[in-house]
Structure formats: C-alpha cells, structure tokens
C-alpha cells in the first residue's frame, strides 16, 4: 500500500484555480519527483499535501488514513514534513534554535542532540554558524539550514520544494547523497520538486510531470526520460514561445 496517496485533488487560491484532478502515490522508502515548468502548480500541490492549502476537492491519504482536512501542524506530527520553497528560516532566531524547532514534534528528545550533530556533519557551515541569527546567513547557507531543519523532524515522508536552490555545485552533489540518506538512514520517503532536472532524475525512482496544474505524464524515471511530453515541456532545448524571446541567433 502506498504511504501517501493524493486522489483527484483540485486546489486554488480564491478565484484562481491551480491544480486540477491531481493524483499521485508515494510508497514507503521511495523517492518520487515532480517536474514541471514554472507556474505549473508544483508548490501549490506540496502545500496542499502539507496542509497549508486546503484542497477544494479530492483527498490526501497518509498511511491509508484520510488526512485531507488536517492542519499542517497535525500532519507534521504524523510525519509529513515539508521544506518550503524559498527557505523560510526563522530569521530572528539562531541556527541552533531553527534546528531545534525542526525537531519540535519529536517524542524522542534524547536523540535530538545526536541529530543536530548529524546535520552539522552534513552541512559543516551550520556548526560554525550555530549561534548566528538565521537571517544573517547567506542564501545558500539558509537553504542548507532549511533542509537540515526539515530533516530534524525525522519525517516519514519529506516534501522537498526545490532544495537545490542557491546551492553551489559542490553542495548540490552532496545534496544528492543526503536525499538518498533520507531513505537509507531515516527510512523515509521523499517527494521532491526540483528544477535541477539532473539532480531529480538521478535520485528519484518515480516521476510525475506536471503542466498547467495537471499531471501530464508519470512513471518510472526511465519511462519519463523517454516520454515525448517530457522532451518537449521540460528538457527540450526549445524556448517557450510565450515566456520570453527566443535566443538571439548566433
């Protein structure tokens, strides 16, 4: 049975409809990625899974339990944890406090210090900046903190929204290892939204392709890579017509 199942979900903000009839499934210990162009509705979908946006229709099942109506904090307690797009660190609080807040709903208090050590091992800068206010970190450092903070929750499923944003190439390649660690060490599933297709395709097993709020293709990563939609929409070297001029001819 799948760990997380999204069934025929519609979402939107006020009068604006975003996702339409989206269904997907993530199994225990699986890394699944959602790809799609800018504005496709990926973030909105993750927000609705995490409980920040309430689906207008459809259901979100976690562990076969209907969690559609739960609030974000309740979902976090169940183990559905999201690393939001654009970092959202608690700027006025120290790096350490941010990490502790990540572990807020954990019951095993004793293991928290060990996990902080683990995070500081993943991202050594966090050790150096332990007492600094999170708001004073550089962009990439904040991104690391946001990822680490999410991991501190020891989630059962981690929703990652563009985790590679602003990370140096060196760190992006390390991130790859960390995502795999989430599965291996934390025994958790990952739902990854990424614009860095290289990263997404190399770690994920399953993938969904989204456009204009709908799932337009899905399957194993291998299948996806072959799919023509993917070629055109995502990896295609062709520039999008209505989103900018085509490149000046060489």
């Amino acid at each position: 049975m799948s760990l997380l199942a999204v069934e025929h979900v519609d979402t939107g903000y006020g009068p604006v409809a975003v996702n339409r009839d989206v269904s997907l499934a993530v199994h225990q210990n699986e890394i699944v990625t959602i790809l799609g162009p800018n504005g496709a509705g990926k973030t909105t979908l993750l927000r609705s899974i995490a409980g920040l946006v309430k689906p207008r229709r459809g259901a979100v099942l976690f562990d076969d339990r209907d969690v559609t109506a739960l609030h974000a904090d309740e979902k976090a307690t169940l183990g559905v944890v999201m690393v939001p797009e654009g970092r959202h660190v608690f700027a006025d609080m120290s790096v350490r406090e941010n990490l502790l807040l990540g572990a807020y709903c954990r019951k095993d208090r004793d293991a928290i210090e060990a996990d902080i050590a683990l995070m500081e091992n993943y991202f050594t800068i966090l050790a150096k900046k332990r007492g600094a206010k999170a708001g004073t970190l550089s962009g990439g450092q904040q991104q690391m903190l946001a990822i680490a903070r999410g991991l501190m929750a020891r989630p059962r499923i981690l929703l990652l929204d563009e985790p590679s944003l602003g990370l140096s190439p060196l760190l992006v390649s390390e991130l790859q290892g960390i995502i795999i660690d989430v599965r291996e060490k934390f025994r958790a599933a990952v739902l990854l939204v990424e614009q860095n297709a290289g990263l997404a395709l190399s770690v994920a097993e399953q993938g969904y392709l989204m456009n204009s709020g709908r799932i337009v293709a899905s399957g194993s990563i291998e299948q996806l890579k072959q799919s023509p939609v993917m070629q055109e929409l995502y990896l295609g070297k062709r520039a999008q017509q209505n989103h900018g001029p085509s490149r000046a001819s060489p």
Binding site: G51, A72, D73, A91, M93, A153
Partner: protein
C-alpha cells in the same frame, strides 16, 4: 529622605500593575501578533469583577483568582470569535479591539454604572519602617507580581513554548510546518495574557478606585512597556514597567506636577526612537499593514 523612600515604594507598586499588563500585552502582541487595545478593558473588567465579588462578601484573594479566571475566559472568547480572523492583518485586529473596548466599557456601565468603584483595603495595614509609611497592600501587590513574573518567565524562556511562539510570529506557516500548533498556542497565550490582566485589575482596585474608563488610560502604558522592553520579552516588560513606574512616581514627586504625565511620554518616545528593538531586545513584532 523618608519621603523619597515612600515615593520609591509607591512607584514600585504601581509599576507592578503596569508590569502585569505589560507582560500580558508583550505576550499577546509580541508572540501571538495580536494588537489588543481592549486589553486595558480586560483589566478594568477584572477590577470590576473583584469589586463585585468582594462586595458580595468574598475574600479579596479568592476574588482575585476568580477575576483572573473570568478575564481569561473573556480572552478565550475574544480570540475565538474575533482576533482569530484578523491574524494576518494586525491593523484590522487593532481596530476591532477598539470596538471591543467600546463594547466592554459600556457593557460595564450598563451592568453597573459609570461611577468609580473601590473596595476597602483588603489588608488595611500600614507598616512604618524607619519612619517610612508603607501601605501593606502595596507590598503585597509587588510580591504577587514578582511571583507571576517568575512563573511567566520560566514558562516562556525555559520551555520550548517560548521558542515555538517566537517562531510562530516570525513565520506562521512555516511554524506550522514544524508541527507547532500555532492556533492553539495563540489561543493559549491570549488566555494567559488576559488572565494576567484580570489579576492586574484585581490588584489595581485594591490600591485605588477604578472606573469603566480606567482601561483606556492604562492601555497605552501597557503598549509602551511592551515595546520599550522588547516585544515578546518578559524580562523586558519588567524593566520597561519599572522604568516607566519610576519615571512616573519620581516625576510626580519631584517634577513640575502639572507636567507629570509629560515626563514618561518623553522617556517613552526617546527609548522607542533610540532602541527600536527595546531595552532588552525582542522580536520585531508582526508587520503592521
């Protein structure tokens, strides 16, 4: 000299009530992000309730507890029915709280009347120590405040709640993503802050009479204290309350009396301008817009 000591004691006891209301506000405003102008009315209601209960024959200290609980319940109702809906718009919350304050003032007038109410001094003793007259009740007020401050300080700074609350102000959504039950905490803080206002009201009426309009006078000090001390900072509220209390007491005692209120206003403005993050630092509070 004995007059000076007496002035200090006076200031301290008044500062205590200011501190109680300041803490309530600093918690609600700094941590839950709700600007509650009706907080002063909560205090007034606490005082009026105490007056009523003591008048009905209840012991003052029992009445104090009930006043706290009553106003706590009032806070709960206000949060659930009103402020919950303006969390994203502090200015709207502010305006709504003005409406609430008008309602509470006149509801009290409707139930009782507009005249001031007082109770006889529940302790009724004056200690003369080294030629200094100290009204016993004033000392008790200081003591009760000290205990409340200690409990609050411990609750906020030593537990994870404080951290979670600060996170909630700075980014509500993300705090929820961390599993922090933001709404429940906001409610909790609101109830607790209101409870403090209730106790403050009870203590106040033990010192001097109050009228249905007392709240609107005291509220500004409360806001000033919470900002001067640093939003969300309990220790800051204590320091802010002491500073204002002392400035008030000493300027009344030694300044030009007709300018009495001006001294503390000037001090407030100066502190707010020179140290916007408050004397002890705090959250910068929710964005006003």
């Amino acid at each position: 000299m004995d007059i000076f000591v007496q002035q200090l004691v006076n200031s301290l006891s008044v500062a205590s009530v200011t501190i109680l209301i300041g803490i309530g506000i600093t918690l609600i405003f700094g941590l839950a992000g709700i600007v509650n102008f009706a907080h002063g009315e909560f205090l007034m209601v606490g005082g009026m309730a105490t007056w009523f209960m003591v008048g009905a024959g209840m012991n003052f200290f029992v009445a104090l507890v009930f006043a706290g609980l009553l106003v706590g319940a009032l806070g709960f109702a206000a949060e659930r029915c009103l402020f919950r809906f303006t969390l994203n718009r502090p200015m709207n919350g502010f305006i709504m709280s003005i409406g609430l304050s008008v309602i509470l003032q006149h509801a009290v007038i409707r139930v009782f009347n507009e005249f001031q109410k007082s109770i006889t001094d529940p302790v009724g003793m004056v200690w003369t120590i080294g030629g200094v007259d100290i009204i016993a009740m004033r000392a008790i007020v200081v003591a009760i405040t000290a205990v409340v401050v200690a409990i609050t300080y411990f609750g906020i700074s030593r537990s994870r709640y404080g951290m979670a609350l600060r996170a909630s102000v700075s980014d509500r959504d993300t705090a929820e993503l961390m599993g922090i039950p933001v709404r429940r905490y906001v409610t909790g803080v609101f109830i607790y802050g209101s409870l403090l206002a209730g106790i403050g009201g009870a203590l106040m009426i033990s010192l001097f009479p109050i009228t249905p309009f007392t709240g609107s006078v005291i509220i500004i000090r409360g806001f000033a204290v919470s900002l001067i001390g640093g939003l969300g900072n309990v220790g800051g509220a204590v320091v802010g309350g002491l500073v204002l209390g002392l400035v008030d007491g000493l300027s009344a005692g030694y300044g030009y009396p007709e300018w009495t209120d001006a001294y503390s206003l000037v001090v407030m403005i100066l502190i707010l301008v020179l140290r916007p993050q408050g004397l002890l630092g705090g959250t910068l509070g929710p964005k006003a817009s």
